[in-house]
């Protein structure tokens, strides 16, 4: 059988770097090819070439064994290739049908033919099994549902090859399952799917074949039988990674104590918990359980309706971020690019931003000591850039996250809150961030982590507090944790024996 799409020896050079150094890829009808690799391995560039967003310097693309040139997104669409980006491209102010047919609305007498649009869109939703009305406004949908709308849109373009770039990175466990089910259905209908993900558990579950990339090259392939966590990691990083070792229970003093915290999202629920010095407490739960709101209310970026936050027994009365930072509570926010960093700025100015006062006299910045401190900091965190003046947006997700962590390390935190610390971060950088967390806890820092990545919840935390609709439904010690136990608490069924 001929492949639907074949890429042969694709080369793409950017000034100073070779993003792709001769990569090949085949996608057959009715198969799910998982494309894995660390951030910066060239996966996205390869997909952009197929999607018509980037043109290769060398190499050829064949569709049904005929050589083609894909020089625009519309050409890719004509050829039956649809690309679903990591960041969703839906419009919240339109309804489902409007989103699916955006830019190619059916018309009648020059006016939009709403009726036809609704009928066609309804058929599409039925095909992917999404039980919502086509009149629903996108802003009322969950992230997973929005993702499905994107898939419906791709199908409406008669896509034969569907490329999905980290579709589950912002989805919850159940939403992920729902999405994977649809991917499987599409496969049985003969669609070729390229599935890019950092979540190896997912890949293992769904892929018919795994293609690994490393440094812009093919790093190897695994058939369905060969796929294991270890074999994939080995291909991606070229070495074995040790997993986070389980630790004995931490028996430090209470560092952060939160009592009766009420947030604006769930004003009727009160949250109380404590984190010991040197402990990693993880907030698990579904997206929308109020975890981010709770940690942001502690940090001061979300309003705190009621409740006390005590650090080493002393109450923090004011609730502005600046007060939290001064007393030693720092937050690595969920949305790295929007609020964690000023991505248009350099590594140096980002790292020093919260603590500029340390490098200033009479309000004026001492630029030498600023540079020296930032350089030392980013070296100790292994940010892969030779130059402190590199713009953050050009770094990979993992390096960006290290810059965020590094920026807070400058503040000598006593409590570090990390909201989804490894989202969109590749395996290698993930391991480094875990290593960092371990280093911090050994120095007595208390870490409060919010995570939706089950592997991370089970692998990194000392204790797990599960939240459901604004309330903590259970706190588990690590040795008592299981995926099922956490899920049960996360959907609010209470702790059962």
């Amino acid at each position: 059988m001929d492949p639907l799409v074949e890429v042969r020896g694709a080369v793409k050079r950017y000034p100073g770097v070779t993003a792709l150094g001769g990569v090949s890829l085949k996608v057959y009808e009715g198969e799910v090819v998982a494309l894995i690799g660390e951030n910066g391995a060239g996966k996205s560039t390869l997909m952009k070439i197929l999607g018509g967003l980037v043109r290769p310097d060398e190499g050829e693309i064949l569709i049904d064994d005929r050589q083609v040139t894909i020089d625009s997104v519309s050409r890719a669409t004509e050829l039956g290739i649809a690309l679903i980006h990591q960041e969703l491209n839906t419009l919240d102010n339109l309804d489902v049908a409007g989103n699916i047919y955006l830019g190619r609305e059916p018309t009648r007498f020059g006016l939009m033919d709403r009726a036809k649009m609704r009928v066609d869109a309804t058929a599409l939703l039925a095909r992917i099994g999404l039980p919502i009305s086509v009149d629903t406004s996108l802003q009322d949908l969950s992230l997973a549902q929005k993702q499905m709308v994107e898939i419906a849109k791709a199908l409406s373009l008669n896509a034969r090859v569907l490329i999905m770039d980290e579709p589950t990175s912002s989805l919850t466990f159940t939403e992920t399952e729902q999405l994977l089910k649809i991917v499987q259905e599409l496969r049985t209908k003969g669609v070729g799917i390229v599935y890019i993900s950092h979540r190896l558990g997912e890949v293992k579950g769904i892929a018919d074949r795994v293609v690994a990339m490393r440094d812009g090259q093919n790093a190897g392939e695994l058939s369905k039988e060969e796929v294991t966590h270890e074999s994939m990691v080995r291909l991606m990083v070229g070495r074995d990674l040790d997993r986070v070792a389980a630790r004995e229970n931490v028996a430090g003093a209470d560092r952060l104590v939160v009592r009766n915290l009420r947030t604006s999202r769930y004003p009727n629920q009160k949250v109380s918990f404590e984190v010991k010095a040197g402990e990693i407490l993880c907030f698990a739960g579904l997206v929308g359980a109020g975890r981010s709101e709770a940690v942001q209310a502690i940090f001061g970026t979300d309003p705190r309706l009621e409740g006390d936050v005590l650090l080493d027994g002393a109450s923090i009365a004011k609730e502005r971020p600046v007060d939290s930072i001064q007393s030693g509570i720092c937050l690595v926010p969920e949305d790295r690019r929007q609020v964690g960093l000023i991505v248009e700025w350099s590594v140096k100015t980002n790292i020093t931003l919260p603590g500029l006062k340390k490098f200033s006299r009479a309000g004026l910045i001492d630029r030498k000591s600023e540079t020296a401190a930032a350089t030392a900091q980013s070296k100790s965190f292994n940010v892969k850039t030779g130059n402190m003046d590199v713009i953050v947006s050009t770094l990979s997700g993992g390096n960006q996250q290290k810059v965020v962590v590094g920026k807070w390390m400058m503040q000598d935190p006593k409590v570090l809150i990390m909201d989804e610390p490894t989202r969109g971060v590749d395996v290698g950088a993930k391991a480094e961030i875990y290593e960092l967390m371990r280093r911090l806890t050994s120095q007595g820092v208390a870490i409060l982590m919010v995570s939706s990545d089950m592997e991370e919840v089970l692998g990194v935390s000392d204790r797990v507090a599960v939240m459901h609709e604004g309330a903590i439904t259970g706190v588990l010690l690590r040795r008592d944790c299981s995926e099922e136990g956490i899920m049960r608490l996360a959907v609010g069924k209470g702790q059962e024996a």
């Binding site: 609020v339 248009e344 919260p354």
Partner: protein, 335 residues
């Protein structure tokens, strides 16, 4: 930062070209008298443009300064010149009171800062949009100026008691007009504040990404409000210089469009209306270019009715060239 430098270089070249062309066409351009008068104007416009520029760097806008000049100018004339002292209700209690000029000057600058504080309050605490708040200011202050002045032109004529002030602001230092000297002093101070201080870094952070700045522990509301206060402060300062320069204040036309000169100067000088970009040097160059253009229209005998058309065209060309260069740069990076 490098891109910014290039932006300033671009407008600097444009300025040199315009100056050279004007100088070739008109011998008066480089005459002492013309240079003095142009730099006097540059001084006045530059001072309030810096204030407006700071607001723009945080991603805001201040449309109110032109009308502030009318209101503050009318007040200044009425406070200092007892012949003009005919206050309407409810300000009748000010009739025939003697205001020493230092008190009057401080009051005017204070009132400018106060109005700026009010703008900042409405924008950061009540969360109104800067455009709306300062647009209402533009209308309201103009109206108040006309009402307080009884729609009559107020001036200083030959009134006595404030000659020291008058001579100071309209005088020269070693041949340089005082307004120009003041602008240089203010620019140096504001350059340090904007480009070397913690406050300045915070200003750029807030303008570039307000949320990220807030998550980094910056009191973004305070930073934003402070720029409106500074803009009001510099507007009050400039109001005094402008009032003495024109020597009479016609409340319905005094300072008309001046807010747009400030915005144009800032944008020409590389400030982005989206915030997060800009420099004192750029704002200065923008101000100078606008005044040279005005001067060019006068000197070259271009009908003065075309005045605004010439300026509009040049600003458009400047911004267009900049955008084309930016597009080219990003295209180069993308492929």
């Amino acid at each position: 930062m490098k891109g910014l430098l290039r932006k300033e270089t671009g407008i600097f070249i444009l300025l040199v070209v315009v100056c050279a062309a004007t100088a070739m066409k008109s011998h008066e351009f480089l005459g002492v008298e013309n240079l003095q008068n142009t730099s006097r104007l540059i001084g006045m416009y530059g001072i309030f443009s810096i204030g407006v520029g700071l607001v723009i760097i945080t991603g805001g806008i201040d449309l109110s300064v032109g009308s502030m000049f009318a209101l503050l100018g009318v007040l200044l004339a009425m406070l200092l010149n007892r012949k003009e002292n005919d206050w309407p209700w409810p300000l009748g209690w000010l009739d025939n009171r003697y205001w020493p000029w230092p008190v009057a000057v401080l009051s005017i600058i204070g009132l400018g800062s106060l109005l700026g504080t009010f703008h900042g309050f409405l924008i950061t605490r009540v969360k109104l949009q800067p455009f709306i708040v300062t647009l209402c200011g533009l209308l309201f202050y103009r109206g108040m100026a006309r009402y307080i002045a009884g729609d009559e032109t107020k001036g200083f004529q030959d009134a006595k008691g404030f000659e020291a002030l008058q001579n100071f602001v309209t005088g020269n230092v070693w041949g340089f007009p005082m307004t120009f000297v003041l602008l240089i002093v203010i620019s140096v101070i504001m350059w340090i504040v904007l480009h070397r201080s913690v406050y300045g870094r915070h200003l750029f952070a807030v303008g570039r990404n307000e949320e990220a700045a807030r998550f980094s522990g910056i009191n973004t509301k305070r930073v934003i409000a402070s720029t409106y206060i500074l803009s009001g402060f510099f507007a009050g300062f400039a109001a005094i210089l402008i009032a003495f320069y024109t020597n009479s204040v016609a409340p319905s036309s005094h300072g008309n469009f001046y807010e747009l000169y400030a915005i144009a100067a800032a944008v020409l000088g590389g400030c982005s209306l989206r915030g997060g970009e800009g420099s004192i040097v750029g704002i200065l160059l923008g101000t100078i270019l606008l005044q040279v253009l005005q001067n060019l229209v006068n000197l070259l005998g271009i009908p003065s009715s075309l005045n605004y058309a010439v300026m509009g065209a040049v600003i458009l060309l400047g911004v267009l060239a900049d955008q084309l260069l930016a597009n080219r740069r990003s295209a180069k990076n993308a492929t």
